[in-house]
Subunit: 694 residues, 2 copies
């Protein structure tokens, strides 16, 4: 839907100016420098701007493909109404002075949004630096230079990062397809951009810097689709609480909690970058290189030490050191000097010529056990860095395996850098950066192959839960516990039998239904320490035990606590064995219901060893949650103990996912503990806590 904006054949600049230093002048120059379409300056006072006929109002000219507004914010709503009245449908508001400043600004922004809705105008901004489409030679932004043509589409919520990355890219010869400065995101947001970039033929990598997300679920949905087609690399900043404070003083965006962002990004195939270095390296690498089929990496180097460090780094980043075939080793042995190392890392020795490097690279690339190569050059006395770069670039560009370059040095490597830069091949100055980028390539190999099965839909008794919730509301309570175990039953979640009863007969009947052994607890508002007054009876093994226990309580407790009103008793099946786990849900402000899984007790409380996922979850998501906790081996069976019934946990998480989506009025939910028995023997919820939104 944004293609019309990016491919605009005519652009009006509302606030175009002759005065140097004014944004309306910068914008005109930005466009004039490259744009081949029609430019229409709008200026109250002038007949022409920079030699182009100007108009007092856009209404004097008529509709354009894109209007860009740079006048002071108080005048923006009126100007945008005129834009709407011409039938113009695409708008970029660069002007600041809206929601990000104060209440007056917020009101102006509201007016702006309302007018855009009224006229069905697509709005980028306000408070942004503009947009670019290099394939339309259109630079409708502050930046005086248009980006080089390339295949990275970039969106950013920070204007400073827009400027900084363009400047960085200029030096490093990095190209872009489309760039959007999102500003206050009053209209177009990250999801719209993602959806547009996904289908743009000139874009092969989608990158972004975000401080918040307007609509979490929509963004996730779009990202799942996009990341199957192209890599999506995002920085989400404000990950710490202090970071989030900085956000709220910055753009007014409410940052979601980072655990939810982390879970959401993983779930929908987004590669998360944590620094500017990572996002630039990942984007360039993914735009340029073929994906590795696996993670077996070869190193070719003229230096033992850096080879060792790179080996360490490969293993620390969960990649593998490729094991060469005998044929590869034989060929390397035949043509390399005797003292060269023909195992991985291949050491072509300090005196290696470009040809020797080239031969080793060619040989290693042909090895079926090699999925990617790191080409690691240090400038030793006889090294020819430039030649060593040249000999490898063709191999690298024509090969279906990624070859990542690390020339580690300075002055003597400058010419090699020039050669690589001209070929638009990145040099990762430090070998570790090459490894991290290789990991991003491999991660995307996995993401691209990922399936997103539909979550199962269980046959549940939604009506029953609705009634329980309504009744709770009527009673004026927002917190439901054990007494509402029927919620679990309604969603097919096995729970220890429990019942509340008021008479002896009810109690015995309930006991027979639940099964034995049982625990019985007195219910009385006046008694808080039940065990002190004989209000808890354990190990009731049959109806007789239950009857005795009941009668004993009813007889003796009144003697001890004369004023106690005995409302009845609660029975609960006693369970033994199994392992305690916890399944929870909180509502994240950005992504909504966020499920949590972990082992119970100290694992949650001290080790914080839990995993999150945004509901709805599918079977793969649930499997990742369970295998993602550090202590998952405890569930898989260890120290001679049998494996736990992981299938039962999965089933219950999927059911909880359905429950919390069916009832968005649930603000928090927790089964704690869920006792998981040995494989095939199921799991039982022992306690639960459900909190309704106010």
């Amino acid at each position: 839907m944004l293609n019309h904006m990016f491919n605009a054949k005519s652009v009006a600049i509302i606030g175009a100016s002759e005065t140097k230093g004014k944004i309306g002048n910068d914008l005109m120059i930005s466009l004039l420098n490259y744009y081949k379409g029609k430019i229409i300056p709008i200026n109250n006072h002038r007949e022409e701007v920079l030699g182009i006929q100007a108009y007092k109002s856009i209404k004097d000219y008529g509709p354009v493909d894109l209007a860009v507004v740079v006048i002071p914010s108080p005048f923006v709503p009126a100007a945008v109404r005129e834009v709407g009245e011409t039938g113009t449908k695409n708008l970029v508001v660069i002007s600041a002075g809206f929601k990000e400043t104060d209440e007056v600004g917020a009101e102006l922004e509201k007016q702006l949004v309302d007018i855009c809705k009224e006229f069905d105008i697509k709005l980028v901004g306000p408070n942004c630096l503009g947009i670019m489409n290099t394939y339309n030679d259109m630079n409708a932004s502050f930046s005086s230079d248009i980006a080089k043509k390339g295949h990275i589409a970039f969106m950013t919520q920070s204007g400073a990062i827009f400027a900084a990355i363009l400047d960085y890219a200029d030096k490093k010869n990095i190209g872009f397809s489309r760039i959007v400065s999102l500003g206050n995101k009053a209209g177009i947001n990250e999801t719209d951009c993602l959806t547009n970039f996904m289908d743009d033929d000139n874009t092969s990598v989608i990158a972004g810097y975000l401080e918040g997300i307007v609509d979490g679920p929509a963004f996730m949905e779009a990202s799942k689709l996009a990341s199957k087609k192209k890599p999506v690399v995002i920085i989400k900043s404000g990950t710490t609480s202090k970071g989030s404070e900085a956000i709220s003083s910055h753009t007014g965006t409410i940052a979601g909690s980072d655990s939810a962002y982390d879970a959401a990004f993983k779930q929908c195939g987004i590669l998360r970058a944590t620094s500017l270095e990572e996002i630039m390296d990942y984007s360039r690498t993914l735009a340029l290189f073929p994906l590795p089929k696996g993670k077996r990496i070869a190193i070719i180097t003229n230096a033992g030490g850096p080879g060792i460090m790179t080996t360490d780094s490969i293993i620390n980043h969960d990649l593998e050191i490729a094991q060469f075939t005998d044929a590869t080793k034989a060929k390397l042995s035949e043509f390399l000097p005797d003292t060269a190392n023909v195992n991985n890392p291949v050491d072509v020795l300090g005196d290696a010529s470009p040809e020797r490097f080239g031969f080793a690279l060619d040989t290693v690339l042909q090895d079926p056990n090699v999925d990617g190569v790191i080409y690691l050059v240090t400038p030793q006395s006889v090294t020819d860095p430039e030649g060593t770069a040249k000999v490898a670039i063709d191999h690298a560009k024509s090969c279906n395996k990624p070859v990542l370059f690390s020339f580690f040095g300075g002055t003597r490597c400058e010419e090699a850098e020039v050669v690589l830069n001209e070929a638009k091949v990145p040099n990762y100055l430090y070998p570790k950066a090459a490894v991290v980028s290789m990991k991003a390539l491999y991660d995307y190999t996995i993401i691209k192959a990922r399936e997103y099965p539909e979550p199962p839909v269980f046959d549940v008794d939604k009506e029953a839960v609705k009634n329980i919730i309504e009744n709770a509301r009527k009673r004026g309570t927002n917190t439901l516990g054990l007494e509402s175990f029927d919620i679990l039953k309604a969603y097919g979640i096995p729970a220890v039998g429990t019942a509340i009863s008021k008479t002896l007969k009810e109690t015995v009947d309930a006991a027979e239904e639940i099964g034995y052994p049982l625990v019985m607890k007195i219910i009385s508002p006046q008694i808080s320490h039940k065990s002190d007054v004989g209000g808890i009876k354990l190990n009731l093994n049959n109806a007789e035990d239950v009857k005795d226990a009941y009668e004993d309580m009813m007889a003796k407790i009144p003697e001890k606590v004369p004023n106690a009103v005995l409302e009845g008793v609660q029975l609960q099946r006693m369970v033994s064995g199994g392992k305690e786990v916890i399944i929870g849900m909180i509502q994240d402000p950005t992504f909504g219901p966020t499920l949590m899984f972990g082992l119970g007790g100290i694992y949650v409380e001290i080790l914080k060893d839990v995993k999150f996922a945004i509901a709805p979850v599918n079977e793969n998501d649930v499997a990742s949650m369970i295998s993602g906790i550090r202590t998952h081996k405890l569930l898989e069976g260890s120290r001679g103990s049998a494996p736990a019934d992981i299938a039962a946990i999965k089933d219950i998480i999927l059911r909880v996912s359905q429950l919390v989506l069916d009832f968005p009025e649930i603000s928090e939910f927790e089964i704690n503990p869920l006792i998981v028995f040995d494989e095939g023997e199921g799991a039982l919820a022992v306690d639960m806590r459900l909190i309704l939104k106010e």
Copy 2:
């Protein structure tokens, strides 16, 4: 002891050559370019080399301050003998073809070492790139250019890293004091260099790249001294097992296990760098900036987004965001534009002039709540990067707080980079690199203040342990267990009472001495599953119980296992309550006895939640071990449980440290479990395993 070598007034080049491309030619040129002392070429065939009078043998000239050898390895021993015969005491052997190649090379190296010993010659190398002392204008290395003068002393076990770092430093204007290429370390090793650099007035930072350490304990001792005076930053590569393989095929060094290296470096105040980027950034930063007194960091920026990312990074690296005083905020408010953020991070806005940046920096530096500043500039349309750099450099250089610069951009930041480069102030391109370097500064603040108390010396019964070990050897066993609990007693380590007895009387007497309750186990080589035959009796509470149990076993077990030889019974006090921990020791090939501490059971086995320290440990080391495990909160008391007796654990670790140092013949030792009771109630070893070296 190496000062004489570094400050040589005369250098002989054995193998000096006129032929371009020969190392003996490179070396001559390297020296000639800068060196002011006397150069003596040694060449079999020529009267002069490069216009300088040459000698057939060094013996024809006489003693020199330093001899550098570049002839082929087979001729080296004879040449070095001649060196020795002149009385020359300092030698660098650049030639390769020694231990790193094959057995012949290893034999040559042995001869070389023997000759150096015979003549008391200090040997650098062989198989190295040479040495430099910029303050003596002496470049006795391969590298054609001498490093710039500076305050980083660098030693490296990789020649390639020597070359690469010199090249990198040339571009970045980084200076060095002394550089040593260690090569095979047949003579001078990392400890010698460390000790020399520590006392060199031109050196303020000691940096190194190491693949192994010759003498772990000596290196630790030297590092403790050195790191109190100057920061010591080391890369130790080969941290993964694959990495270690690469080492053994590379230099024949046996890599120590990484956990021991990590522990050792922490214990002796070494800042460990994990990449070339880190070692360069840390070294430059530490050489240039004052140390921060605390970890409260201010950010000054013209950009919200990068400010947020830097905030995240500060918190993720265990630094803090400074809270400004009201005075600072008032002053900032008064002079900055209304929309500027005067809280930390200070946002001076996208249109900030150099003066505005300078004012903010000056104001923030005066705040007593600020320990260091990150000065974060992105090139926005009106930004003047060069001016913004200039205005800050003087502040930064004259201030007693560190100010780290991050100009994130490319082309437009080049002039700012030049300004910083000329001032020898690093630009951390990515803000995260500035944060990581700030962390290194703060870490060194802590290290510099660190105390190394002497480990306590306990009054122990060494003789008793000696006897137990001797007896075990006599019995032909290397593995000692519960039956050798007297080892613990001898070292004052509390253990559950245990005894082995052969008769009823012995058994009852032992029980009375140990105390109750007790468990009794049958001892019989023929019985492996004791409980199956009634060979374990629990809960023996008095002498009568013990008597009954003993008689029962002796009567009934022969009925069940007629061929069993009943050698006696083992009694052990039963303990209840407390928490299980494990204290262990392994012998590390580099550092010797390496202690381990962790919580017992799954924490060790599944979470690998343990900490190591090299013996001898002092009280601080032990405190770090205990507080360093992720689960330490379990010991400190949580979920309403009382804190454990951490003092008792500390005492026992210190005693184990003494034990394993007193008896180096112990190859492994473990108390598992040690039951730790509530604070003040001590701890008890329940089982132990001690393995003697073969």
